[in-house]
Symmetry: C2
Subunit: 150 residues, 2 copies
DNA sequence: GACAAATGTTACTAGAGTGGTGACACAACA
DNA sequence: TGTTGTGTCACCACTCTAGTAACATTTGTC
């Protein structure tokens, strides 16, 4: 399964933005914390902004900010913003319609796969960016979030 | 997220093997139902056999069989057999240790990601190959399985 | 008004993973 | 002994990822 790190970096970005607490963070600054290239960060910030999770200020003194309180941003929001949302693909070529299994396997599979993907997203919906800030332990400022469950 | 169809094809194979009910299925036959190349099927069958889900008979009249009753093979077994089991990757390069967020984000993330992946696998553990046979509607032979939940 | 600092976007690249294809040694049955 | 079929390897084209560079545009500051 080709696995991407975009979700991990997106959560890192959002956590960092909250820790900065209102001061805009430049892509250069974020990139140095993530240990990657500013271009990669800007690409992800573009997706997060399109999803309404971040905003940015152009020009000198600019940078990115959270678009809403960290306690209102769930990790599943970041996930949907930067990933396709599909963990599984069905068959590339449609199976043989002459075979009883081939004829119905895809609809049977897609219901199972849908439940599994939903379970994954529900788990990501339980955690907010504020929770991440808390569990990262940066920051004294009292946050709404509590530690991740369990 | 790079998405593979191996799980879908693996479930297709297992379902087909049970429907054949004890008669060995050749990779050629399976490939024609899946609508792909016998080589692809053999590659997957190798992984399924290594996981103890299928066996095969060499030589003329040979082919593949389920290694245990369909009701005892859960879809999560197929998933673990043919996929990496990782839906998410953490950062490629380790984040900056000089940043409080960078220092702790990976351990915080891996616990969240672990829970999400576990939730996905738990959902796949609820369904057996026998369930798939039933919901595909092939076969009158009474099976243990019942229809997928919900 | 000019300069510097940032974003937003595009394009290119190397590397990895996927699945399709062919080839071939080996095993088993008739 | 010939045929059938597995198991395995190698190769290829395609796609996705992330790293990198470049550049127009916007904004703040002197």
């Amino acid at each position: 399964m080709p696995v991407s790190s975009r979700f991990a970096v997106a959560v890192h970005i959002l956590t960092l933005l909250d820790v900065k607490g209102g001061r805009p963070a430049t892509s250069e600054y974020i990139a140095s914390s993530v240990n990657t290239n500013p271009g990669v960060i800007r690409r992800l910030l573009g997706q997060l902004a399109r999803a309404g999770l971040t905003t940015s200020r152009l020009g000198a003194g600019g940078g990115s900010l959270l678009a809403k309180p960290a306690a209102h941003i769930r990790l599943v929001d970041a996930y949907r913003a930067v990933e396709s949302g599909r963990v599984f693909a069905l068959h590339h070529a449609t199976p043989s319609a002459r075979c009883p299994v081939g004829r119905h396997i895809q609809s049977a599979l897609s219901s199972v796969v849908g439940r599994a993907e939903r379970a994954l997203e529900e788990e990501l919906a339980e955690v907010t960016v504020a929770d991440m800030v808390a569990s990262v332990g940066a920051r004294g400022r009292p946050k709404v979030g509590n530690l991740p469950r369990r």
